[in-house]
């Protein structure tokens, strides 16, 4: 039977088990949108800006373990997706972005709403396609999903010219996708794994440094088993939070620029550093030449190009984090039992002393709301079980520090690209994937204004997302740098904001405000008990800083503590 390009596309999405699409229509995707009216099993969520569609697909992917899908039109529709795509690329999130394109005959003519989106997104997608021949359509779409979700996951873009969407053929759907030049290594080399284990067992001060790879490969349980067995303390990157339980005694907190004193000191003193699914980002390492100066480094990563990119690695292991940790645990299981707790006592005591010396803390105030207190209360009142998205800046760091994530896939944040405006649309995607869960976007008054238009999307789709705005009337993180490094010259960081309560109401959501510490808890309780989208406007201390802080370019032990 003959099918149009639009029908083939939607059929392929169905074959990939896609249930939700985030998108925005336009001229060249009219046929796809028309076909959507006859495809009730695919639910389309209409956003108000294409960037939000991609962030929502990103949040959806993280919360559902599936590939997120966004659908937009050509030209401005396509260019508006670029920030979302770049963010998903840096965070290795599996999404497929489908962009309309002008008809093939017009490509290159500077046609209306034409842009070379394949050229534009080449450096920020895992792969991308321009489909010029309808006979290639089905295979291309399945290849795109295969590439997005396999190996080190990432965004894939498919550009579909209008005439390809409108043409019809009798399609052949591929049963299996094989790409000869693309074969990610999942199974780690057992000899390297053995070498790593020997090195770890011989270590006096080992430290696990884990990242988003643990979350993406669903390796949290194996990681916990490994750390518990060998009694190795664990720190993680922002992307890795929740990959190891925040209430486990071996947990040191996040490391890096706003990491805990304890985690950063542990890195500086460790003799063996086991990096699993992390990539030695500059926000983690600080001054590279002084990063983990005493440590032999073992690095597990599914992407060979991550290994020895920033630091020299002693034992490289290319493989899936889950597979590698399983191999390590299996090897351990075969060895005679040993009292690791006793062997590890001196190191764990040193670490505990650091933790005691400078725990994560803040100065309480009876009169002004401290932003950290809001996050602590959110954690307490959701029993640490909510899905948290963040914007970027101070809100993101306080969320990372004070919401103690116990489970993987509970924190969605734009870690690599650092996109202000990510959290709210991402929360929308998370809520679609987890309709019964509590989903909270921890936001700043600056960030929330970057994608505030999505309020109508959550209202319209009955997505009861909660937004907790830590409203300090500043672009807080930039202001912090100005305070610390630019003698308090607050250039363009004092920032006006609308009345968020009225704004929420104007959109048909619920608006709540707290101006005093004692109002924080009642506001959060009310929000959690409201089965509608809620904006909470917390008027917090304007000049609070995120501490500790390793100034950019400094070594990790050179932290500012207060």
């Amino acid at each position: 039977m003959k099918m149009t390009g639009a029908q083939i596309l939607l059929k392929c999405l169905e074959r990939e088990d896609v249930k939700h699409i985030f998108g925005y229509p336009g001229g060249v995707v009219l046929d796809i949108y028309d076909e959507l009216t006859r495809t009730p099993q695919l639910k389309h969520i209409l956003v108000r800006h294409e960037q939000a569609a991609v962030h929502a697909a990103d949040g959806y992917a993280r919360a559902s373990r599936k590939v997120g899908v966004a659908l937009v039109t050509s030209g401005p529709g396509a260019t508006n997706t670029v920030t979302g795509i770049a963010s998903a690329y840096l965070d290795s999130i599996p999404i497929v972005v489908i962009t309309g394109q002008v008809p093939t005959a017009l490509i290159g003519n500077d046609a209306f709403q034409e842009v070379d989106i394949v050229g534009i997104t080449r450096p920020c997608t895992k792969h991308n396609y321009l489909v010029k021949d309808i006979n290639q359509l089905a295979t291309t779409i399945h290849e795109a999903f295969h590439i997005a979700r396999s190996g080190r996951p990432g965004p894939v873009l498919i550009d579909l010219p209008k005439d390809v969407v409108q043409a019809s053929i009798v399609p052949k759907f591929p049963e299996e996708i094989k790409i000869k030049s693309y074969n990610p290594t999942y199974h780690a080399n057992p000899r390297q794994v053995k070498r790593a284990l020997d090195m770890i067992r011989g270590a006096k001060k080992p430290l696990l440094y884990t990242g988003g790879g643990i979350i993406l490969s669903d390796a949290a349980e194996e990681l916990t088993r490994f750390a518990d067995t060998l009694q190795i303390p664990v720190t993680s990157t922002l992307m890795g939070l929740g990959g190891f339980p925040g209430n486990n005694p071996l947990w040191l907190g996040m490391l890096g620029m706003h990491g805990t004193y304890c985690a950063n000191m542990a890195v500086s003193q460790a003799d063996v550093l086991i990096a699993v699914g992390a990539r030695f980002d500059d926000r983690v390492t600080g001054k590279l030449s002084e990063f983990a100066p005493h440590a032999k480094i073992i690095h597990v990563d599914i992407d060979p190009s991550s290994i020895s990119k920033n630091v020299k690695v002693d034992v490289p292991i290319v493989g899936d984090c889950l597979d590698t940790l399983k191999q390590l645990n299996d090897l351990l299981h075969e060895l005679p039992a040993k009292d690791w707790a006793a062997a590890r006592r001196p190191w764990l005591e040193t670490v505990a002393a650091w933790e005691k010396e400078h725990p994560l803390t803040y100065t309480w105030s009876d009169t002004v709301i401290k932003p950290q207190y809001v996050v602590e209360k959110l954690w307490e009142l959701t029993k640490g079980d909510a899905f948290i998205t963040t914007e970027v800046g101070q809100n993101q760091m306080w969320a990372a520090q004070f919401y103690r994530f116990n489970k993987p896939r509970r924190l969605m944040t734009s870690g690599g690209l650092g996109v202000m405006g990510y959290g709210f649309p991402a929360a929308m995607g998370v809520q679609v994937a987890q309709p019964d869960a509590i989903v909270i976007d921890i936001a700043g008054d600056g960030s929330i204004q970057m994608n505030i238009q999505e309020l109508i999307t959550v209202v319209e789709n009955n997505l009861p997302v909660k937004v907790a705005i830590l409203n300090n009337t500043f672009l807080g993180m930039v202001r912090q740098w100005q305070q610390l490094f630019y003698e308090r010259r607050y250039s363009s960081t004092p920032m006006g904001a609308p009345d968020f309560v009225k704004l929420a109401e104007a959109y048909g959501a619920v608006g709540l405000r707290a101006t005093k510490p004692e109002e924080v808890e009642p506001v959060i309780r009310e929000a959690l008990n409201t089965p509608k989208p809620v904006i909470m406007d917390f008027r917090v201390e304007p000049e609070e800083c995120v501490m500790p802080m390793v100034p950019a370019g400094k070594a990790m032990h050179e932290m500012l503590l207060a």
Binding site: V118, R122, P123, H127, K180, S181, Y182, S305, S308
Partner: protein
Amino acid sequence: MEPRHTISVWVDNIPGVLSRVTGLFSGRGFNIESLCVAETMDPEVSRITIVSTGDEQITEQIIKQLHKLINVIKVVDLSGVEHVEREMALVTVKADGASRAEILRLVDIFRCRVVDVSPTTYSLEITGNYAKMRAVLDNLKVHGILDIVRTGTLAIQRTKKD
């Protein structure tokens, strides 16, 4: 000067692949000294020869990043193996009076070919490795090079002779 590396890259012969490869170099700040690309005996596969400069760590990154491109089939750093390199140049050189004979002597010594002649110029075809090209061009420069066009380096692995 940082070491030169000659890297052979087999890629899918489809539109946009060259741009993926060169975009990777510019985006990540890797150098391209020269680049040659053409179809192989299999029309679905092209082979790119890239000469790049950088230390061992950079070269390792270049190779890993190339591997990461979906359309890249195979990457070989020829600098680590026995191989033969050739470049080609077409050069129009000023040739009048006494220099006409002198240039022909150079053509003979360096085994170049004269591909075009005018009363005041010769156009020459020169092939050789990097070092020879420099030697020829240094000698011709004295006479005045009016026009020049060069290929990048081509390289092929030597067959093992056991």
